[in-house]
């Protein structure tokens, strides 16, 4: 072992190094503080499929709320077409990418159960919107009460066919969709005893197939007096595509539909569809981001936050047409469909 004298130069060098390290540590710390202050919550909204026009409104709504909040890094991401397996892959990808919160419109309540629970187990805040996965560990479901939506459709048809007896027909999309089956259940509980459901068609959410089924059914059943469209798939065409429906509506057939998307409004304007029960499409994104952001900040919400069920008829269809006319951009839609953010409980 050798004895070593500590020179003044060594002392000076050590002091300089210590001061430098301290400054570096302080600088690093302040950067971290600034980084923490600038932290943005990574929030993703996952629709069933990007190809469904109804979900574009949710994208715009999410963008609008994220811009208002200022501390949200917003992502609208999902399968190109509705597919539960692809949606599972999307959610797993978001978990891996370290998202703080995810809102999902579940393609299949059971298939999405496990990825939702995986995300929750990793501390990610998860809610469902539009279509729920009730057995999962999601915090909140934000959407319409499908059962009540179906009941409202039946009540509207009861009113339109007051005093009449006869057969009606139902059109739905997929047999496996929980929200659609709930609407059908709701219809059946409230439908007048004078009205009999002669049959139900399922169009696989395919517009062309829906058009074909409505026309076939009306020709085969000339005595039908009512039609309830559990979803509006055939109406995403144009009035010219459904000549039999249009003609029969003029001679007494009463049609009640669901949704008030831009494409279906001409059917209400020309009186083919007498009433349609709507949902808050823009709110799917706007309020989902509100709720997820609130949950990340420790706020509480009830397990089910219901949406309103507005009814569009010939009396107020012009108002909705104007809303859609003004909604060509995210900012335009925000102005047209503006609503107050949901408050925590």
């Amino acid at each position: 072992m050798t004895d070593r004298k500590v020179s003044r130069r060594d002392l000076l060098a050590s002091g300089t190094a210590a001061a430098g390290a301290l400054t570096a540590a302080q600088l690093f710390g302040s950067i971290n503080i600034a980084r923490a202050q600038a932290k943005k919550y990574k929030i993703a909204i996952v629709p069933k499929g990007l190809n469904n026009p109804v979900f574009k409104s949710a994208d715009f709504g999410g963008q609008a709320r994220s811009a208002e909040l200022g501390d949200v890094d917003f992502k609208f991401i999902g399968p190109a077409t509705s597919d539960a397996a692809q949606q599972v892959a999307t959610v797993d990808g978001l978990i891996s990418a370290g998202y703080d919160a995810i809102g999902i419109s579940c393609d299949s309540s059971e298939t999405l159960l496990q990825p939702i629970d995986r995300a929750v187990a990793k501390g990610i805040k998860v809610i469902t919107w539009d279509s729920d996965s009730p057995s999962s560990k999601r915090s909140v479901f934000y959407g319409v009460d499908s059962f009540k939506g179906g009941q409202l459709q039946a009540k509207l048809l009861n009113g339109l066919l007051k005093g009449k007896k006869g057969d009606i027909w139902l059109l739905s999309g997929l047999q496996s969709a929980q929200n659609l089956e709930e609407r059908i259940r709701g219809v059946k509980t409230v439908l007048s005893k004078d009205l009999t459901i002669a049959g139900t068609s399922f169009c696989n959410e395919d517009v062309a197939l829906g058009v074909s089924q409505v026309e076939n059914v009306l020709r085969a059943h000339p005595t039908l007096i009512g039609y309830i469209m559990i979803g509006a798939w055939p109406l995403f065409s144009s009035p010219g595509a459904l000549p039999t429906l249009k003609a029969r509506a003029k001679t007494g057939l009463q049609v009640v539909a669901f949704d008030y998307l831009e494409q279906e409004l001409p059917f209400i304007v020309d009186g083919t569809v007498k009433a349609s029960v709507g949902q808050d499409y823009w709110g799917w994104g706007y309020q989902s981001v509100t709720i997820l952001h609130g949950l990340l900040q420790g706020k509480k919400y009830p397990a089910f936050v219901p949406q309103a069920l507005p009814v569009v008829t010939t009396a107020n269809v012009a108002e909705y047409q104007k809303k859609w006319d003004d909604s060509k951009t995210a900012a335009g839609m925000a102005a047209a469909f503006k609503e107050a953010p949901i408050e925590p409980s």
Partner: protein
């Protein structure tokens, strides 16, 4: 009617050897030998059953013209699928091609383009789609299943990306193609019959079509016969895409709108129509008339189930079962023919 290269070779062999006594098949055997005769029989049985069950609704001109309106666009695309199948290939991108071409045509129309120009633009997109399939298959050497599986996703994704998932409205004069009638006959059905007659003529009476049969019957043999196999494949994939594009444009006109999700899964319906109509998935066999009848059967089954109000939850199963039964009977017929 000559169905396969082997058959035509056999025929020429017969004419070259007059000394060998040849037993000519009876008229009945000749009729049974036509691949789509069995399918036509199923349609007749269906019509009888429906008439007994529901009265005159099924065979009413109103219902039949409506069925023709609804199956025409699928049958147009199925003609293309059959050409590829006869040539020994497969095209899984046809449904996505229909959606993309319909979407872009509708976009052009909504942007104010004259209808003929918008339709021409849609057809050009169809040609480009077919060219991409052909490049991947003949240039890069991908097997058709994988190449068209990839382009199916590319075409569908391209449509979704361009319109961001939105529906494009095309409800103006353009819709006459898909909604209009000439007397009691839908215009789209007339287009379909013209396309069927044209493709049948090309496939049966020109080197263009006979080379497709030859390549489907055996690529190596076709090559040895001096046929440019790559060129034949280019032709058949582009022809299939053009027919798919026409189907997509007619579908958009039928609905008066177009969405990226239109024609979802139609590739399988087109393949089913071709196979029901007598096309062999091993290539070299099939007719355009058979495809037309195959597509008609599928449309009539769906129409019947709608009219009957049967099988709310079982429609797909019933349709699948009818496809399997029809194809199984056809297979049996082929075996009996060989015995």
């Amino acid at each position: 009617m000559r169905q396969t290269v082997t058959d035509s070779d056999a025929e020429s062999a017969e004419t070259d050897s007059p000394a060998v006594p040849v037993r000519r098949p009876s008229r009945v055997t000749e009729i049974i030998a036509i691949p789509w005769v069995g399918v036509l029989g199923v349609i007749v049985l269906l019509a009888i059953f429906m008439t007994v069950k529901t009265g005159p609704i099924f065979l009413s001109p109103d219902n039949l013209s409506s069925v023709a309106l609804d199956f025409s666009y699928i049958a147009m695309a199925a003609l293309g699928s059959a050409i590829v199948i006869i040539g020994g290939g497969i095209d899984l991108s046809v449904g996505a091609n229909m959606a993309l071409t319909g979407l872009l045509t509708a976009l052009a129309i909504s942007a104010g383009w004259p209808i003929p120009l918008a339709v021409a633009a849609g057809l050009v997109v169809g040609i480009l789609a077919g060219a991409l399939n052909a490049i991947l298959i003949t240039g890069i050497g991908l097997i058709p299943f994988i190449a068209t599986l990839g382009t199916m996703s590319v075409f569908r994704g391209l449509g979704t990306g361009i319109v961001q998932g939105q529906t494009v409205n095309a409800a103006n004069g353009f819709t006459v193609i898909g909604q209009g009638y000439w007397g009691p006959i839908p215009i789209s059905a007339v287009i379909l019959f013209v396309l069927t007659a044209t493709t049948a003529f090309l496939m049966n009476n020109t080197a263009w079509g006979r080379h497709i049969y030859a390549v489907g019957g055996g690529e190596s043999a076709a090559r040895l016969c001096g046929i440019n196999v790559k060129r034949v494949k280019w032709r058949m994939y582009i022809a299939a895409s053009i027919l798919g594009a026409i189907g997509g444009i007619v579908l958009a006109a039928r609905l008066g709108s177009a969405t990226p999700s239109n024609a979802l899964g139609y590739e399988l319906i087109c393949i089913a129509a071709a196979v029901i109509g007598g096309a062999s998935l091993t290539g070299g066999e099939g007719t355009m008339v058979g495809v037309l009848i195959g597509a008609a059967l599928l449309a009539l089954i769906r129409n019947s189930l709608d009219i009957l109000g049967w099988g709310e939850y079982w429609q797909d199963l019933i349709i699948g079962a009818v496809i399997l039964i029809t194809v199984s009977f056809d297979q049996l017929r082929r075996r009996l023919r060989r015995v």
